[in-house]
């Protein structure tokens, strides 16, 4: 048995089977491994209480635990130091309460995003977020990875949509914060703390969101040009009185596009389309291609080995990022692609050979940090991840983050090593 699982000899798995039910505990397979780190068992508790009990049991037994939703982004983060047990939220998949007149929803963490949206659409509403792989990704998964998409231009990211949460902590406590009203400042906003925490503080079992109406009408436009001219246009649109719900820059070797989406009434959209033409001047608009608004997802497909990064910069720096990626990729003979959202976050994909990807990653990281931005390596060959913090250099808040982690998970039970600075 490998060293990391030496603890196995004293583990009494039947106790866990008792908690979650025999048929919901199984031996892990190679497919359950996280970044090459083997897992022993997979448990699928059927209730939040059972999940909390299972977590408490695992913690007391000294096991390392990785929460899992749809498993679509399990490779994000650093490889775990160890993982004995995967706690799956697959059976916590119910929409508990869609209070459509109040425009809120209470949903279990294992509910798939597309399933939630289907329920909400029955009353003409949506969770105003278009994350990656909604058919498979779960609410808990998108929350823990702070995923978002093009709607962010208008509705913000998950931190702006979540209004309450219930989490299971390693000591077995089930803790709530927030509630089902959109406005609430009673106590600390733990929902935000857990959003993007990659399951290192606790396991989200339930979330409450504020909802938005589905748009009445929608129209997308695309402009082609150089990254520089499109970046200028992007800033001009942001500085205008246009009310867009999507603003996205796409670039690859030799081509660049800017997509803009308007939602609203037919008359409102028509007026805005006219205005944007005036702003764009010589750059001519065409209707946005149908797949424009899923390009943040399409960029994940392609040849391997590949490096997928997420970068954050100021909106005025997009053209510089494109130029940087092009230069760095060119130097290593790599193919490249960028899809960026107007708020200042985007994906850059590089394809080619592993040594080239490694060199490119280091240069990109250095240069973006110099620009005041950040670069996270989301997916890449595991060998590249070794000895490299995928999250980037720690900030001066790192010691504080470590203290937060130590308070919530003093024994490092949850996803050890996967988060920023080895948290």
């Amino acid at each position: 048995m490998p060293a990391a699982s030496g603890v196995m000899t004293q583990v009494s798995w039947p106790e866990l089977a008792e908690i979650v039910g025999k048929e919901h505990l199984r031996a892990a397979t190679a497919a359950d491994a996280i970044d090459g780190v083997e897992v022993q068992m997979v448990a699928e508790p059927g209730t939040a209480e059972d999940l909390a009990r299972a977590l408490r049991w695992a913690h007391a037994a000294g096991l390392k635990v990785s929460p899992r939703g749809g498993g679509t982004k399990l490779g994000w983060g650093n490889p775990p130091a160890a993982c004995h047990l995967v706690l799956s939220t697959a059976r916590l998949n119910r929409v508990l309460e869609h209070a459509w007149a109040d425009m809120t929803v209470i949903v279990e963490a294992g509910c798939r995003v597309a399933d939630l949206q289907k329920t909400l659409a029955e009353h003409g509403q949506q969770l105003a977020l278009d994350p990656l792989w909604p058919e498979r990704a779960t609410i808990g998964g998108i929350l823990s990875t702070n995923d978002s998409g093009t709607l962010r231009a208008r509705y913000g990211s998950l931190r702006d949509l979540i209004i309450g949460t219930t989490v299971a902590l390693p000591d077995g406590a089930l803790a709530k914060s927030g509630g089902k009203v959109v406005k609430n400042v009673a106590g600390y906003d733990l929902a935000k703390l857990f959003t993007g925490a990659l399951g290192t503080l606790g396991v989200m079992v339930q979330a409450i969101f504020r909802l938005h109406p589905l748009p009445r009408e929608s129209r997308g436009l695309s402009f082609s040009g150089t990254p520089e001219s499109l970046n200028q246009l992007l800033l001009a649109i942001q500085a205008s009185k246009l009310t867009f719900t999507g603003l996205q820059l796409r670039a690859a070797q030799g081509s660049a596009h800017l997509d803009v989406r308007f939602d609203g009434t037919a008359a409102g959209i028509q007026a805005q389309v006219k205005q944007i033409q005036q702003i764009a001047g010589l750059l001519a608009a065409s209707d946005a291609p149908a797949n424009a608004w899923t390009s943040h997802q399409a960029i994940w497909d392609g040849a391997s080995p590949a490096l997928m990064t997420k970068f954050s910069v100021l909106p005025a720096q997009f053209a510089a990022v494109c130029a940087l990626v092009e230069r760095v990729a060119g130097a290593q003979s790599l193919a490249w692609k960028v899809v960026a959202q107007g708020v200042g976050a985007g994906y850059a994909r590089l394809e080619g050979n592993e040594p080239g990807l490694r060199t490119a990653l280091l240069t990109l990281r250095d240069e973006l940090v110099k620009m005041g931005g950040t670069l996270v390596a989301l997916a890449c060959p595991v060998a590249i991840k070794r000895g490299f913090d995928v999250w980037g250099p720690p900030s001066d808040a790192q010691p504080l983050m470590v203290r937060v982690k130590q308070r919530f998970d003093p024994d490092g039970t949850l996803n050890p090593g996967r988060f920023v600075g080895g948290i």
């Binding site: 007149a101 109040d102 935000k192 500085a239 008359a267 900030s395 504080l400 937060v404 308070r407």
Partner: protein
Amino acid sequence: MEARILNEFRAIVGASGLITEPEQLSTYECDGLTMFRVLPLAVLLPTSTAQVQAIVRVCHREKIPFVARGSGTGLSGGALPVAKGIVISLTRMDRILEVDLPNQRVVVEPGVINLNVTARVAPDGYFYAPDPSSQVVCSIGGNVAENSGGAHCLKYGFTTTHVLGMEVVLSDGSLVHLGGRTVDRPGYDLPGVFVGSEGTLGIATKVILRIVKKPEVIQVLLAAFNSTNEAGAAVSGIIAAGMLPAAIEMMDNLAIQAAEAAVQANYPNCGGLLLVELDGPAPEVETLMEEVADVCTKCGAWEIHVAQSDAERARVWTGRKAAFAAVGRLAPAYIVQDGVIPRTALPHVMSEIVRLSSEVGLRVANVFHAGDGNLHPLVLYDSGVPGQDKLAETLANDILRLCIKAGGSITGEHGVGEEKKMFMAEMYAEPDLETMQLVRCAFDPENLSNPDKVFPRPRLCGEKPGVYEPHPLEVAGVAQRF
């Protein structure tokens, strides 16, 4: 306070930055909630981050609790001093440090007045969206600490949506940067936790704000109904039609009378008044305004008026924003509450408030952020009448309990502070509060930064929480942990 410590403080902020005379200290003994008063040992007025750090280092070494203070307009006793502690007033740190229009960012010191941010960027067509009614006086530091809201937060979001990062002096005097100019910075969302933490996690010395472009057209509609229930039905109708107005505000008859007397806003004298503001592209606002008017008519509105000019719109809002202060004309004293309920619970909660107020014989004026269910019941009383202050307090508390029971919150924007900390235990269960305290212990293990606020009981952070052991009573099935 020992002379040697005072000397040290004086060396940091200069003689003009240190207040120790009792009559001068009394200015700082309370915030906007004047029923709680405590005289601090000293008030310090630093002018730089380095000075704040130096002050806090002394506090840390000597175990002196400190309370940050902005403009002192808080309504929950958040800036109430602690006995044997000092107040650190940030009013002299009031510079706008940087305006970056292309990226829509503004960096400010915490003492900057909310409205001054908008004033600075308005010539370029921008505004700072969170607009508390107190925006002419309250500070950005206070807004951050309270996660303040305003009428327009229905569409634009609260302070937390518009704050990207901050520089913070922690209770040991160390300096950290949470978040930053760019979005989605790796690591825990500590800016998200700091906003709304009511001064308990440290002192913000710099704040990075996001500004928003002014909409093309803004229109506000006034609709008069016979009752708040009819007006409430209209609110639901507007939301159900898939509209997201910039603001939906409601006032009941007592609040209307008060506002009229104070600022002559030209409100119709009715049982329930609705203000609905729409903004966006002109043709869209026009279409939707007609729909809003339709919904209001169907729900019983007998007078509908759309403010035509900027001046008229400003007057409509002046009435609403003056409502709190104006209520002072109706009674010698009043208590402001800040409960939140799911919008659909409005008719029930309103009729309960009417029942409760007639039972005790006190009047309650109501001003709401109706779009997001945030109620501001104003309980009127006369402190000259023996026992009436107690009655008023009980009534105000009962109203909060109604909100909790309806699935809502005890505070939508004013914060828990000193005033509502005991209610935290009614709104949340013990494990919820314990979990929040974990955050506090990570930031401020010695409980020096605005101690004894927000939570019903202080938590000792010294012990590092270990493995959970079931209590023998739990094992025996006598008691349950949650």
